[in-house]
Point group: C2
DNA sequence: TCATAAGGTTTCCCGAATGATACTATGACA
DNA sequence: TGTCATAGTATCATTCGGGAAACCTTATGA
């Protein structure tokens, strides 16, 4: 996990929860409801089992994600957001909002550059 | 720069702006006002010139940070948040807020674990 | 003539994060 | 007897973010 330097302002815990190449994708799908391991794997193209497992384990460790194992064969494991996990929503919402305007900003910038050449 | 997978939900631009070991520290100080390169370097212990430069360049590329060069010797370069740069504040605010409660959450968790042993 | 300041750049290197691939366990079902 | 499904592990290879240290430029003042 990458470490972010800043004691003065308490922003790193959030970054620690959200950084990792697949965290956001995983959270996105879990915000839609409970998912099985294989459902997540199918929903997120290119993710490997190894990565999916490790990212889920980290989120579980941070109490964001709940893991429920059904003792059946073949195995069945369900992942869902914990109640605490839902508390990151405002952050994602703020990031999403900014992301939308940022995309417009980038486009505008490109058009200006075009005109100037 | 790390890439985050998720086209469906527009959260990656924000993460792209914020991830990088020193971005948050740099933004923190620039939110306080205009700073010279050396001021930032002195404010952020352990950061190398190379890292400070590259992080600032990325932020500049993203229109978050403004760089003003004074043609004097020895060089003088000032960095400040662009108007657009200020728009990331709600994200930082949300992250900060969550970070505070997360710290409490972690403490509580530890205490519970202590009691159980 | 030589050092100094300020803001870099360049080169080399390491370890962590991620990827690719193969392997495992186990009961149901054909 | 063999195959399949599911949710993983294990092992090895690669990539990439970041760190250390040296070098660069140029007007100025000692």
């Amino acid at each position: 996990m990458m470490k972010h330097d800043l004691e003065y302002c308490t922003v790193e815990p959030a970054l620690e929860v959200l950084t990792g190449k697949w965290k956001i994708s995983i959270l996105y799908f879990l915000f839609q409801g409970t998912k099985r391991f294989s459902e997540l794997q199918n929903s997120i193209p290119n993710i490997t089992k190894k990565m999916l497992t490790s990212q889920l384990r980290e989120l579980e460790e941070q109490d964001i994600v709940r893991r429920v194992v059904y003792p059946v064969v073949p195995p069945k494991v369900e992942y869902s957001l914990s109640e605490y996990g839902y508390s990151v929503e405002p952050i994602l919402r703020a990031m999403h909002l900014w992301g939308m305007t940022h995309i417009k900003h980038i486009q505008l910038k490109r058009e200006i550059q075009k005109v100037q050449t």
